[in-house]
Amino acid sequence: MASAGHITPNMSAISKSRSELRRPSRRWHLKDRRWKAVNQKEPERTFTQYDVHVETPSYDDEVYENNLTHNEWTKDETDYLMSVYREANGKWPIIVDRYDYEGSTRSMEDLKSRFYTVSATVLRLQTPISSMTASDFTLYETLSKFNPKQEASRKQLAEGHLYRGRHEVDEESVLLNELQRIMLQQATIENEREDLRRRLDYPRANTNGYQYNSSSALTQLWQQLLATDRMKKNQRLRPTGHPGFDGFNSSTSARPRDSNAGLDTNLPSRRGTRDSLPSATPQNSLPVDLSAAEMVRFGVVQNQDKLPSGVTFASDRLTKPRVAKSTVQTDKIATILQHAGVPELIPLPTPAVIEQFESIMAKVHTLLDIRKLAEKEEQELKVLS
């Protein structure tokens, strides 16, 4: 067929040739024979980038003699350690597994300690500490701070932990569950408490009152307020008497600690003082020791009687007895008192005055009674005669 040549497609675009690619590697060249399009450009792929090795500190005989000698290590063994390190790619579990130098029984900590010391020394010799970069210095620090004893004891602990018995593991899990339960409960309580606080304090003040939600914050607030209060003329606050709360030792008022001290401090500004309330302390014992002279001086009276409720004035006791049930009687009392020289108004109702007045009044009443009796007797005699 003569026309065969004409219908043959142009193969140049897709014609293939057997090419020999050489894939470079460090150790060998793979002759890779394959079909590929002539004009196809394939990027050269190399795997040499994966040819990585770990670095070990390098030293020569002189450096070793001057800096790296060690009682328990010969140079040969140090060299051997470096070679094992390279072979094991710096993986310590492997290094300790492969390390076999004249039947030595060195532990991983011994090997690490030696290797790190050598590394640190070589690092220091290459760059003096003063001119090290930050990362180098951190490395140097880490290397020189290695403590084989600590590491060994840590390992021992780790081993002990690994081989714990069944009951210890159970106990741990029980304890963990317990802790979990407690914390969950704590969170629930905290939420409930938060909820309660929100309800109680709503609407909230503009300033966040929640900064005082711990007892120490409250104490601080109390101390602050107390300090400012002491500057003022009319004091609204009274120290609790507890140095822990007040921040100073209140010697002036040695009141015994009020059981409500904590509460008292709670909302001092809002509620005002609670001091006007009758004190819960019994009346027969004075809170302050006063001598008889002082009691007289300050007008302090120890009253054994039961006091009437409410507020009473001492002057009441001077005016009230003058008024009797009937006006005739009242006039009579007034006349007697006038006769006896007791003024209408007694300016200073001191206890002594009141006492005196009361004794006069008793005599007035007796006089009145006797008079009444005498008039009655006279009336009877008139009737009889």
Partner: protein, 476 residues
């Protein structure tokens, strides 16, 4: 090196399977697996056993060894320890495994196939010269590809060097590498740090791997593996009442259905010269393999089979009594004889975990307690550094065709967790039986297709420079 999850393909820069096309040869004492790197299963799986004709000619391959020929002996180039003994046969067998399915005969180059040559008067081409040239080229079919061979972890130095010599001298491979089974099996699971428990045919081995490197002191192996299990089943059959007749397939011509435990009604094949014992044993093993696949099960724990079922259980009520209450499994022999197996189907594997529970007979002594699986793992773990142990226990890779017994991974997990109550023990057993059977090969396939591995091959130049001793230095 960060490991990728097994589901994720490596990046184009890392993958080099298409560029290198390495051959992976995973040789075991039961079967030899071969294939190209980058594939997910070996293309060629050949039994390691071979048939030796009375004439002295060896026959390889599945078809050859199962044919009952008069006077054939079944042999294995491996010894019972899983090490190659008969090197000449092993070399031939391996070559057969590679060439029978993978490389084949090479096509004659177009320049010399004679089609374009000038023809003589009769229209013929002078072929003789071409044939000679071809013969030269055909001498080494393996010379084209780098070769990665797997080896047991206890392979002696001599055997390793011999393998290297074989690959370099006889096959002329351009590059070679020798890697440990356990290491490769871990790679197949995408693990660089793992404790590999490989239950094979002759041996069970344990290998601890830390960041891709084998911890040598952790290497242990024991003979409690697939073959030992076969012998357990044989002993169990013999001690049953009535004894279970083990008749291989080739003996049976026809059979008819019989009720359970009744004598078989079958016609048996007649041989003028009965097959040798080794052949019969091989065929019996095939029956036992199907027995293992369909009937045998491991007691999944907790506790041993002999131990009491539960703390509150009545005295003497052990797990084994409990297994009697489970539905039994039937098994039919090739000649139609059939029965059901209850607790015995658990008991045959129990010896792997509890040496005292093993069946014993004069031919089969009781296994040593330290050869049991949990004890092997324990010994391997104790040889490793304390800091590595929790990680290793958390990455136990169970592989090997012998591990395909039902519930065996679960049992190993519970036994090890009892042994180490504190750290988290995790036994990873691929649910795909193919991946467990060919674990080491698949790992080799992964390794061989990695660009990063390209630097590791021992090249021909290096071999020529340093000799076979280089294998010790490079393949660690």
């Amino acid at each position: 090196m960060a490991t990728l999850p097994p589901t994720q393909a490596p990046g184009p820069a890392e993958y080099a399977g298409d560029d290198i096309t390495a051959l992976i040869l995973d040789c075991g004492s039961y079967s030899t697996r071969a294939g190209f790197a980058g594939e997910d299963t070996p293309k060629s799986v050949v039994p390691t056993q071979y048939a030796l004709l009375p004439s002295g000619e060896p026959l390889y391959g599945e078809n050859a060894i199962h044919l009952p020929r008069p006077g054939i002996e079944i042999k294995n180039p491996y010894n019972t320890d899983g090490i190659v003994e008969d090197w000449d046969t092993a070399a031939e067998l391996w070559e057969y495994a590679v060439t029978s399915r993978l490389t084949g005969t090479r096509q004659t180059p177009a320049s010399r196939n004679g089609l374009n040559d000038d023809k003589d008067q009769n229209g013929d081409v002078n072929m003789e010269q071409e044939m000679e040239q071809q013969a030269d080229e055909q001498e080494s079919p393996l010379a084209e590809y780098p070769l990665l061979i797997s080896e047991p972890s206890w392979n002696p130095v001599k055997a390793r060097e011999k393998t290297m010599e074989l690959a370099m001298e006889e096959w002329g491979v351009p590059a070679f590498f020798l890697s440990k089974n356990g290491q490769l099996a871990a790679y197949s699971q995408g693990k660089a740090t793992a404790l590999v428990v490989d239950i094979g045919h002759q041996n069970t081995s344990v290998t601890a791997l830390w960041e891709g490197m084998v911890i040598r002191k952790s290497l242990h192996h024991s003979p409690l593996a697939g073959n030992w299990l076969n012998n357990q089943i044989r002993t169990m059959f013999a001690t049953q009442q009535p004894p279970v007749p083990l008749v291989p397939h080739f003996m049976v011509k026809t059979k008819s259905a019989v009720n359970a435990n009744e004598p078989a009604v079958a016609t048996y094949a007649e041989f003028s010269k009965p097959p040798t014992d080794s052949f019969r044993r091989l065929e019996e093993d095939r029956v036992l393999t199907s027995f293992k696949e369909s009937v045998v099960q491991t007691w999944p724990g907790p506790g041993r089979l002999e131990s009491s079922a539960a703390p509150g259980a009545p005295n003497g009520y052990s797990n084994i009594e409990y297994t009697r209450t489970l539905p039994p499994r039937p098994f039919e022999m090739p000649d139609g004889w059939n029965t059901v197996f209850t607790s015995d189907r658990y008991k045959v594997v129990e010896g792997l975990f509890d040496s005292r529970a093993a069946y014993t007979s004069p031919e089969q002594p009781a296994p040593r307690p330290e050869d049991a699986l949990p004890s092997l793992v324990n010994r391997a773990i104790n040889a490793c550094d304390v800091d590595t142990r929790p990680t290793l226990l958390n990455n136990i890779v169970l592989t090997g065709a012998g591990s395909l017994i039902e519930k065996l991974p679960e049992r190993l997990q519970t036994d090890l967790q009892t042994l180490f109550p504190n750290p988290k023990v995790r036994v990873l057993a691929n649910s795909n039986p193919v991946e467990r059977k060919f674990g080491a090969w698949i790992g080799g396939s992964v390794l061989g297709s990695l660009g990063t591995f390209h630097q590791m091959w021992v090249s021909r130049q290096e071999y020529e420079e340093f000799g076979a001793g280089v294998v010790e230095k490079r393949c660690k």
